[in-house]
Symmetry: C2
Subunit: 212 residues, 2 copies
Amino acid sequence: MKIEVVKNILDANEQMAAENKVFFEGRGLVAVNIMASPGAGKTSLILRTIEELGEPLAVIEGDIASTFDAEKVSEKQVPVVQINTGGECHLDASMIRKSLEKLDIGKAKYLFIENVGNLVCPAEFQLGERVRVLVASVPEGDDKPFKYPGMFSAVQAVVLNKMDILPFIDFSVARFMEGVRAVNPQAPVFQLSCRTKEGLGAWIDWLKTVKS
Amino acid sequence: MKIEVVKNILDANEQMAAENKVFFEGRGLVAVNIMASPGAGKTSLILRTIEELGEPLAVIEGDIASTFDAEKVSEKQVPVVQINTGGECHLDASMIRKSLEKLDIGKAKYLFIENVGNLVCPAEFQLGERVRVLVASVPEGDDKPFKYPGMFSAVQAVVLNKMDILPFIDFSVARFMEGVRAVNPQAPVFQLSCRTKEGLGAWIDWLKTVKS
């Protein structure tokens, strides 16, 4: 009974995600679903990408509560909509569709969708995105790929953020990479710091290779 | 339909949590439900508490996958059971009951239950615990109480871990405290570092005041 209901919800979501995908492709818009733990640096990565990408973009911010992240994006003169999920631990395709009605996409070439901070639930819900990116961060520890294999296997790229504080943390990049490769043999992994901008170039170059 | 099913699941969980609570109280066992983002330091806090508390204790480790955390606890000669939830983003009362069948509680006075790393879902599921503790950490950012009010309001104590890297992070303790107090006026907040042990004393002293 429980399983059946959950399956129906996921089916309905996939149907709407497919419709979102058609909408994005029709406009030549590259939709990027950014997922991470709370505080890994999703918003910081989006803000740095706005500065460095040199392409028009738009942003959908997802959070349980608050509008802090949308305010930060708005200060960059970028169209943005904030979704507050109330208690839901992830975005879903219908939330994206509704927020698109309020978002001035204009000539945007990229749509960044910042998911709710959570390494579990968001991986199960397609939004219609072109690519999924996981932002991990050094202080979370090098064991996270082993503990959250579902999330690490569900993405097309991994960003390892906060590399600037590596000297102050017990973290082995080799062990982290071993964990990523165990569940995701191909995704590029970008080691960078949104704070110092070190390593951002490779991420930006990769984004430019992603076509809608 | 969806809401009704979810409500039934929560009702069934609360019933079983109440039974767990009776079991814990009958043995004079203080059950502590430890919740946090991935990588905030739940396991580190448990390991330091084992070293410093000076009371017999037992541990239940919850993770989506892997047995790393249980292995670390086991090295301290403490009875421990690992729950792997598969994909579930939180522990529930029935998982606790089943794991109790395998756990050698012996003369333990405290049972530490490490929940799945997640700032959303675990707050909705009672386990039968005496107290709930949230482990936040400096690198996650000072805005987390504003973004995850459900979690921050659902606990009897907050630990702010990784204070040793405060000099290297943009984090305002005052803003964090403001966020905590907005949703949780009374819970004590313990600023500490599991890495350096600084500030652990107040946490240990508080734990000793909690009676089953």
